[in-house]
């Protein structure tokens, strides 16, 4: 089962929930934790994994053989990302704009374009105290997170329990990280910012047709409007974590909740059971 942990708003506690869930389940299941927040991955701060393997992520970008090139301009015409500009004497390539679609090399009438790997990030695989750990890191200055996220998700073990930590927001990196999940946990806080962004996140997972449930973090701050929204929209609140200085203190020091306050383990096991029930119910509904 693949469970993604998303939020819309940043800083609501995705990492806290994803790492706690992985650490609570590891003694009973084969657990894999995939940190897909490749712009700002933080799970490793809490999991302290031993990295065994490191692999560069690159996308294929064009390289032009100027001897064959007739400067006909076809490549510049077909590139919708403006990654190629053709002048009378030279072809200019902007690798940071290239999505690696391959149109230019395929469509070049002179076969003057080959593809070379442009490194944009890295994925690291390792083990953290019984949890299979994988995260991706986008290189500084690179714009495109989705190819790195895709690479992390390719490592998912479909036989086991996979927890995916999703980047904040609602656009392409989030979609890439959340899609193909069996369930999406949305972590929010009961403030107007948290609610505004939760609504957007709920719309996103609905668009992807993935069942979701809510983790209400820092309960006690803000107002009651988030709970009201969840009731109206029939969104189950599966776990409530109170605003608590001890939790915040462990978090600030990079100590996972389960290590610092092991009494939380049973709450996360319950959370996992509730998710399992929802997913099973849904799959038996579809079978019928």
């Amino acid at each position: 089962m693949l469970i993604s942990v998303a939020s819309g708003k940043g800083g609501t506690g995705k990492t806290l929930v994803a790492t706690s869930l992985a650490l609570s389940l590891k003694s009973m299941y084969n657990v894999q934790l995939l940190d897909c927040d490749v712009e700002e991955p933080n799970d490793h701060v809490f999991m302290k994994p031993t990295i065994i393997r490191s692999e560069a992520v690159s996308i294929p970008v064009p390289s032009v053989d100027e001897e064959k090139c007739t400067h006909c301009g076809k490549c510049g015409e077909v590139c919708v990302y403006n990654a190629i500009a053709v002048t009378k004497q030279k072809v200019l390539i902007f690798p940071e704009l290239c999505h690696g679609c391959g149109s230019c090399s395929y469509l070049c009438p002179e076969k003057a374009i080959s593809e070379v790997a442009n490194e944009i990030g890295v994925i690291e695989t390792g083990n953290a105290d019984g949890v299979d750990f994988i995260h991706g890191k986008l290189d500084i200055g690179q714009a495109m997170a989705p190819p790195v996220i895709r690479k992390v998700k390719e490592q998912a073990n479909n036989e086991g329990t996979v927890i995916v930590d999703v980047p904040p927001g609602t656009s392409c990196p989030v979609v890439e990280a959340v899609k193909d999940s069996d369930f999406c946990l949305l972590v929010t806080e009961p403030t107007p910012f948290g609610l505004n962004d939760l609504v957007l996140a709920v719309e996103t997972v609905k668009e992807l047709d993935i069942p979701c449930g809510i983790v209400l973090n820092r309960a006690g701050v803000g107002d009651g409007k988030t709970e009201e929204y969840c009731r109206e929209e029939n969104l189950p609140i599966l776990l409530t974590i109170p605003l608590n200085t001890e939790i915040a203190s462990f978090y600030s020091r990079g100590i996972s909740l389960i290590e610092g306050m092991p009494q939380w383990k049973s709450s996360f096991l319950e959370l996992f059971d509730k998710i399992g029930e929802i997913v099973n119910e849904r799959s038996s509904d579809t079978e019928r």
Binding site: N42, L138, T170, S252
Partner: protein
Amino acid sequence: MKEVVILSGKGGTGKTSIVGSFAAIAQSKVLADCDVDAADLHLLLSPSVKEENEFWSGQVAVIDEEKCTQCGLCQDVCRFDAIKDFKVDPISCEGCGFCSHICPVEAIDMKESLSGHWFISDTKYGHLVHARLGIAQENSGKLVALVRQRAKQIAERDGLDYIISDGPPGIGCPVISSLSGANLALLVTEPTLSGIHDLERVLGVCHHFGITALVCINKYDLNEDNTRQIEDYCLNLGVEVAARVPFDNVVTEALVQGLPVVEYSQGEVTQEIESLWQRIGLALQ
């Protein structure tokens, strides 16, 4: 006219609360909400929308079933796995158009897609340019660029001194789009190990693009050891820590009231944000 963009790397460190306060403090400015994925600044500024525009960007492939001979070439060439069973998944399609160029029977058209909306609003603190990216849409970087461009036009038209931009979390496409060509970045961090790790990466992006950065440590008293670690780190890099804002529930209380915290409380948080804005004003001179 000078532009300051507020970033953080890690989400939820307090960018928007600080920008909302700058809105109330600063004179002669226009505000831009560049977090187009999950825009929140409007919740503090009670804007009245004066202009609403559609954002058309990017294309999506559409297969004409009547013309399609199911040869499968489009599926073979698509690198985004966006075509399955001779149907396009619009969410996976990156709009490159490869399939439409190579389809032997010209059965694939590229259709423009409505990717979001952008707005120009009035607030009691001045104009706000903001946007909303469509659900599960791409091209947030382009929408950010558009928001900044409109904010700049307003600043030029009205002869304003500052553009204050609330940036997105992360370090990727929309962050780069928010940052390029700005005069100054203010990086809001928090004294957690995650916050420090993410600060290092976003600072790397500022250096990469040659943008001067100031750092604000928000909720600095939640872990003073970590605060000292951030200060040492910044000192070593020659980056100025321009403010240390204490933790105080008034920030959330103000948010619940829909107010910038400086309009709600006269406490230490407010004083520190006021002096931070003065420091930014000097840095922008």
